[in-house]
Symmetry: C2
Subunit: 128 residues, 2 copies
DNA sequence: TCTGCATAGTTTATCTATGAACAAATCGAC
DNA sequence: GTCGATTTGTTCATAGATAAACTATGCAGA
């Protein structure tokens, strides 16, 4: 388990560093990804649910993304409690760059592992 | 890779929650473990090195551990720049409880995996 | 309709982690 | 022996995450 944690942390740090080149972090990239895949604005609660974190985290993350100009907050016309997050054009562009970077890292890892180990890893992780 | 991160985070959260029962966190347990295994007090720099984090993180971690009464700071007689961290008796006791908890979590994971998957996981992780 | 409860988002406090800037102490080259 | 570079720990600012307390809004039942 120690090894699992250590490897995960090291890979996360690597992806984080790679994303840093375009001003993104893993957390920010995660939000952009959810919004891009939804293809539409989403209530902050749904963002929290899909990212699997508490709402107060999303508040701050969206604060920073809004400051970066990658996302903006919209009022929900149907429920005045709700705040929706929407990608800006800069956000869509940034996500495009991010996904290339992450894909490259993914390839590097799969390559380092070799097919059989990659499959084994995947299978084992599925049990957990 | 997404799966690896997700599983690692979930397991970490589980261990963290289990350790919470005795007032520990993974970070605090990590410090206690290094000190216990060293069998002696250690300079904060060495703590940082073994835990693989920056020194300012150790400063704060040791602040909190000292507040918890698990660790205390000692002056180094040979180098007045150095601050050493030493386990208190409460710290040794707490580490003992922690290690039982972590071992139980470890067993639960290995059991959930089965021998072959556990070995496969270990082998794959070793490549990374 | 009003009342009480649930939901949405924010604020605040805390923890973990990083990096930059800093003070004090040590060490090496001259 | 002194000066400059290095090392050690701390402080501060920031990012990311959680949990608790709070506000505003919506909704369901008496």
């Amino acid at each position: 388990m120690a090894r699992l944690f250590e490897v995960a942390h090291r890979l996360e740090a690597r992806v984080e560093a790679a994303l840093g080149a375009v001003g993104l972090s893993l957390a920010k990239f995660g939000v952009l990804k959810v919004l891009a895949e939804a293809g539409d604005s989403l209530p902050l609660s749904q963002l929290a649910e899909r990212i699997q974190c508490v709402r107060s985290n999303i508040t701050q993350l969206v604060d920073r993304l809004e400051a970066d100009g990658l996302v903006r907050r919209l009022d929900d016309p149907d429920d005045r409690r709700v705040v929706r997050a929407a990608l800006t054009q800069a956000g869509r562009d940034s996500f495009g760059e991010g996904i290339r970077i992450v894909a490259a890292q993914e390839r590097a890892v799969t390559e380092a592992l070799g097919q059989s180990d990659a499959a084994a890893l995947n299978g084992a992780l599925r049990q957990l």
